[in-house]
Point group: C2
Chain length 139, copies 2
DNA sequence: CCTAATCCTTCCCACAATGGGAAGGTCAAT
DNA sequence: ATTGACCTTCCCATTGTGGGAAGGATTAGG
C-alpha cells in the first residue's frame, strides 16, 4: 500500500513515517518500480506500535529501544519494565516542577485584585530583587 | 557594564541576552565606542524580571506582554492576572495530560513481572490493535 | 487520448529556546 | 609585544512536527 494509506491506518502522518525512516527508527521501506514506498500489514503494525509509544510520551531513542525489545522474542521483561519506570519517573519529575510553578503563580495571583487599578503584586514580585524574594518566601 | 557582567548579575546568559535583543524582547542595547554592548542597573533589573518570568515557564510572547504591562504604570491589574490565570490553566492542562499518561504506564507496568522471562504485558499492549485496546479498556 | 487532480519523491524552511563554537576584533596586564 | 580574557557576528545543533516547492507518476473523467 502507499504511504498515505499506511499513514491513515497507523495514525502516523506520511511526513513522520519518512522522518522515522530517515533517522533509522524504521528500516528503509521497500520500493515499487516507480520509486514509491510500499507498505504491508506488518509495517502498519510497527507504525501503530510506534504511534502508541509516542502517545505515551516516549522519546525517539526510547521508542527505538522499545521497538528492539519488542522484536526480540527473548528479551527479559525486566528491561521493558525498567524503561517504563524511568519514563514514569521523568514524567513525575516534570509534573512536580510544573506543580511547583503553579503553586507560586497561584500565590502571586491570590493577592492581585485583577481590576482596573494598576496595583499588581504579581508584577511587583516579578520585579523584586532576589534577596527580597528570598525574604518574602520566609515571611 | 559588559554583557557578561550583566549576565552574571541577572542570571540570564550572554547568549540569551543577545537572543532576546535579536527577537526584540529587549530594545537594542547601547554600544560603547568599541562596539561592545553596555548595560546599566536598570537593564539588569529588566533582565532579572525576564529571568523570573522565564523561570515560571512563560513563553517569549507572554514575557513580552508582561514586560509591556510592567513598564506601563497605568495598566489595569486585570490584564496581568488574566495572563497569569491563562498560564496556570495551560500548565494544569499539561499536568493532567502527563498524569493520565503516568496512570496508563503504571497500569501496564503493574502486570509486568520485570524479571528474566520474556512475557511482557507492556509490549503486548503497545502492540495490540486499537480495537483490542478499546476492548481491554472496558474489561 | 488528453487533461486535471491527486498521488508520490526529495529538499529546504520553520517553530522555541538554548547552547556550542569559529573567525576576527579589543582590551588589560605583564 | 604578547597573552589571555573579553567582545562581536554568524552558523549549526537540538526535538518532533508541519508547510511547501519542484518535479515525476498515476488515476479518473471527459
Amino acid at each position: 500500500m502507499n504511504i498515505s494509506a499506511a499513514a491513515e491506518r497507523s495514525g502516523v502522518s506520511a511526513k513522520m513515517i519518512r522522518y522515522y525512516e530517515s533517522v533509522h527508527l524504521l528500516p528503509a521501506a521497500s520500493r515499487r518500480s516507480n520509486g514509491y514506498r510500499d507498505y504491508g500489514d506488518s509495517d502498519v503494525a510497527i507504525l501503530q506500535f510506534i504511534r502508541r509509544t509516542r502517545d505515551l510520551g516516549f522519546s525517539l531513542p526510547e521508542m527505538s529501544a522499545l521497538l528492539t525489545l519488542w522484536r526480540d522474542r527473548k528479551r527479559p521483561s525486566r528491561e521493558v519494565k525498567r524503561l517504563a519506570a524511568a519514563h514514569i519517573a521523568d514524567l513525575e519529575r516534570r509534573i512536580r516542577e510544573m506543580q511547583s510553578v503553579v503553586r507560586t503563580l497561584r500565590a502571586l495571583s491570590q493577592h492581585c485584585r485583577g481590576d482596573d487599578r494598576s496595583e499588581c503584586p504579581i508584577l511587583d514580585d516579578l520585579a523584586a530583587a532576589p534577596t527580597q524574594r528570598a525574604r518574602q518566601k520566609h515571611q
